[in-house]
């Protein structure tokens, strides 16, 4: 296939090699095609206010689509020419073979890939319209239909493995044991670990939202309550979370312990709630990394004698524990879930122990099963 180049755009340059990535280690800044067409697309995406993480993800997915197209066509393909070949575009979008040639991609990854391609069709419409002679969105639709299975009145994409969700949710006692175990670390690390995991377990926050917390996003109210503003997935506005008195004390204890440690080591960085600067830091004063949190949890689980779990398990634990005591919509509001569907399907895992505890408890403690007469209850039938 001959290389096509749009007027005013450079020719495609070779994509950089994909870095090896260990599981649990965050991806380095996403790499992708580095031609003028893609740069213009990314500029427009940024001008629309897309988040840097979203831009990086779309760039990565575009790179994956081009890699798949190049493999399928056995020749290097650029984005504009890919849009001219509907069949190849469709096959590249639904191609679920990972970069290593063996693993199968998840449906979630393929859905993100489709979003990226649709986004290119929308944002680069001024350039693609004269090239294709029709709306780029229609080309994408036809490409997808060509690669999909015809089912009933519509089409179905069959590629990709179902996304794995859910997993182990530690019980309340297990979370308490975990907090004790991680809190035994020497120096400032003990207070930090305890405060961090305590807030995760107590508020159901996402690990990266809390890890990237800035001091300026912490606010002490006149009534002494501490509120933090955490990034909310898929939203530009931050989520307001009020910490419990215990969590607030732990956080302030960590800040003091870290500042003592930094002063002793001669580091300039300090943790100050209410002022700009990273809150969660490592021994060098830099922001605490995701890998270190995962490592801490793994070691903490071993020390506490509980099954190994990731940081998201604490969000599941929060949902499960809260949903056993409160209505689900309250739990969804408290934990920042948009609706209760995801909460129901993937987070709340009723425990046998809790079920048996409730079944064996006094009857009048259960919801709506109290059949004792109340003073306001009027008799339905009066027998003489």
């Amino acid at each position: 296939m001959a290389q096509l180049t749009l007027a005013g755009f450079e020719r495609l340059v070779a994509p950089p090699p994909r870095a090896n990535r260990r599981r649990g280690v965050p991806r380095s800044p996403a790499r992708g095609p580095d031609d003028e067409f893609t740069r213009a697309y990314l500029r427009r995406l940024a001008a629309r206010g897309a988040a840097p993480k979203g831009i990086a993800a779309y760039r990565y997915q575009l790179c994956a689509v081009l890699r798949a197209a190049s493999r399928l066509a056995r020749v290097r393909v650029a984005l504009p020419e890919l849009f001219r070949d509907e069949a190849l575009l469709g096959r590249a979008i639904v191609d679920d073979v990972a970069a290593d040639g063996r693993a199968k991609l998840s449906r979630w990854t393929l859905a993100q890939r489709r979003s990226a391609v649709r986004s290119v069709a929308s944002m680069m419409r001024p350039e693609l319209l004269p090239l294709l002679g029709e709306e780029p969105g229609r080309v994408v639709d036809r490409a997808l239909r060509g690669a999909a299975e015809r089912v009933g009145a519509g089409y179905r994409l069959t590629g990709g493995t179902p996304r794995r969700r859910g997993g182990f949710a530690p019980s309340r006692d297990q979370v308490a044991a975990l907090l004790v175990a991680v809190g035994r670390a020497p120096g400032y690390e003990g207070p930090r670990n305890r405060a961090f995991l305590g807030i995760l377990a107590g508020t159901g926050s996402r690990v990266n939202a809390l890890r990237l917390l800035d001091g300026a996003d912490c606010l002490v109210l006149p009534n002494g309550r501490l509120r933090v503003y955490l990034h909310e997935k898929g939203k530009s506005e931050r989520r307001e979370v009020e910490l419990s008195a215990e969590a607030a004390r732990d956080l302030q204890a960590y800040a003091q312990a870290f500042n003592r440690h930094a002063a002793a080591r001669g580091c300039t960085g300090r943790v100050r709630l209410g002022e700009p600067g990273a809150v969660w830091r490592n021994a060098d004063g830099r922001r605490w990394g995701y890998g270190a949190v995962v490592e801490l949890l793994r070691a903490g689980c071993v020390a506490a004698g509980i099954p190994p779990c990731g940081p998201h398990a604490l969000r599941r634990a929060f949902a499960t524990e809260a949903a056993s005591r409160l209505p689900r919509h309250v739990v969804a509001q408290a934990g920042g879930w948009q609706g209760i569907e995801r909460l129901d399907e993937h987070y709340v895992q009723p425990r046998d122990a809790t079920i048996w505890e409730k079944l064996s408890g006094p009857r009048d403690q259960a919801h709506g099963t109290d059949d004792r007469a109340r003073p306001t209850d009027a008799p339905v039938v009066v027998l003489r």
């Binding site: 500029r43 929308s122 109210l221 530009s236 409160l326 509001q333």
Partner: protein, 346 residues
């Protein structure tokens, strides 16, 4: 008001700041007059004119805006300015910029020798678009960030509002009573800042409520309609205190309710009222609260008084009950968190 008189007396409000060349300013004036003739509000015309100046700046080099006739002589240049603005803008600014461009092409385009219909069609082809969802939409995508760029303040409750009102009255000086009344009106009523500073004593009236209770009400104009909003206890009490300080003899004062401390007859400006509020928040130990946050706090306080969402809507003078839901969304999340905390602690 001086800014709004821009198109009436031909005087520029910007006094040279951001002004374009004389010919472009003449075109802008023609555009403004055309829009006013169509029935557009002065505020909209000002905003669109400002966006047209921005487009001229975006089309030119930094510090040297392109004359409007030259910029709109090349639709591709305008399309690029709309697609990829140099400075980050909000989504609403992006939409206004597009509307201003389209209206400029329609009203002024023929004067500079352009065919409005073909230019508008060319502009459509130059802008990103997604498939339209309905017949009346083109699906055009404009530049601009959808989210807010300012840091959001804390969710306030009744206690916080009382703290702000008390702090406003603790400033001392001759204006302490006025500041307290202003803060009380902003915190415990449905009045917005611009409505509060425009309030006159003649607008206030004590009415007998259906329950036999005499309550203070305020007449305001909103969405082109006259509304009479009830003023809840804290704001009514503070206004009564202000009335007594203005006229200790117990007469009926007239004129503006909130006046500057220098000139007795000069009403307090929007900016000055905002400064009073910011200073009160600072004294109360809170970050500067925005108007919407005060209204949300007031809505929460009214709900705590036992009012339903529909009743809260009436007190705040809102058009839809959904606005009350939106105001109370953050309170709902915090209340839910509180319930979970209590359960976990128990």
């Amino acid at each position: 008001m001086r800014q709004l008189s821009f198109f009436v007396d031909g005087e520029s409000s910007s006094e040279g700041r951001g002004r374009l060349d004389a010919e472009s300013e003449r075109l802008l004036r023609a555009f403004g007059e055309g829009r006013l003739h169509e029935g557009a509000s002065r505020r909209s015309v000002l905003r669109e004119t400002s966006q047209l100046r921005s487009i001229a700046r975006e089309c030119g080099s930094p510090g040297r805006p392109l004359p409007l006739a030259a910029a709109f002589g090349d639709v591709a240049l305008v399309g690029r300015a709309l697609r990829e603005p140099r400075a980050p803008i909000s989504r609403s600014t992006g939409r206004t910029r597009l509307r201003a461009t389209q209206r400029f092409l329609r009203i002024v385009g023929p004067r500079i020798g352009r065919d409005a219909a073909s230019d508008l069609a060319a502009l459509d082809a130059l802008l990103p678009a997604r498939p339209a969802s309905c017949w009346h939409s083109t699906g055009t995508l404009v530049a601009g960030e959808a989210g807010r760029r300012r840091r959001r303040g804390p969710t306030l409750d009744g206690a916080d509002l009382r703290r702000i009102v008390d702090a406003a009255g603790n400033g001392g000086g001759a204006s302490a009573v006025r500041d307290r009344a202003l803060a009380a009106v902003l915190c415990f009523s449905g009045l917005r800042i611009e409505e509060a500073v425009a309030l006159r004593w003649e607008d206030l009236e004590t009415r007998l409520t259906p329950t036999g209770y005499y309550g203070l009400t305020a007449a305001i104009e909103r969405r082109g309609r006259q509304l009479r909003l009830p003023l809840p206890g804290p704001s009514a009490d503070a206004l009564e205190a202000l009335r007594e300080s203005v006229d200790p003899a117990g007469g009926e004062p007239s004129g503006g309710v909130f006046r500057t401390s220098r000139g007795q007859d000069r009403p307090l400006g929007y900016r000055a009222a905002r400064n009073v509020l910011v200073e009160a928040c600072r004294r109360a130990g809170l970050p500067p609260a925005e108007s919407s946050e005060l209204r949300a706090g007031c809505a929460h306080w009214l709900r705590a008084q036992g009012l339903s969402e529909h009743e809260v809507r009436s007190v705040l003078g809102l058009a839809r009950v959904r606005s009350v839901d939106r105001l109370l969304a953050r309170h709902g999340a915090l209340d839910a968190q509180r319930r979970v905390r209590e359960q976990f602690a128990g």
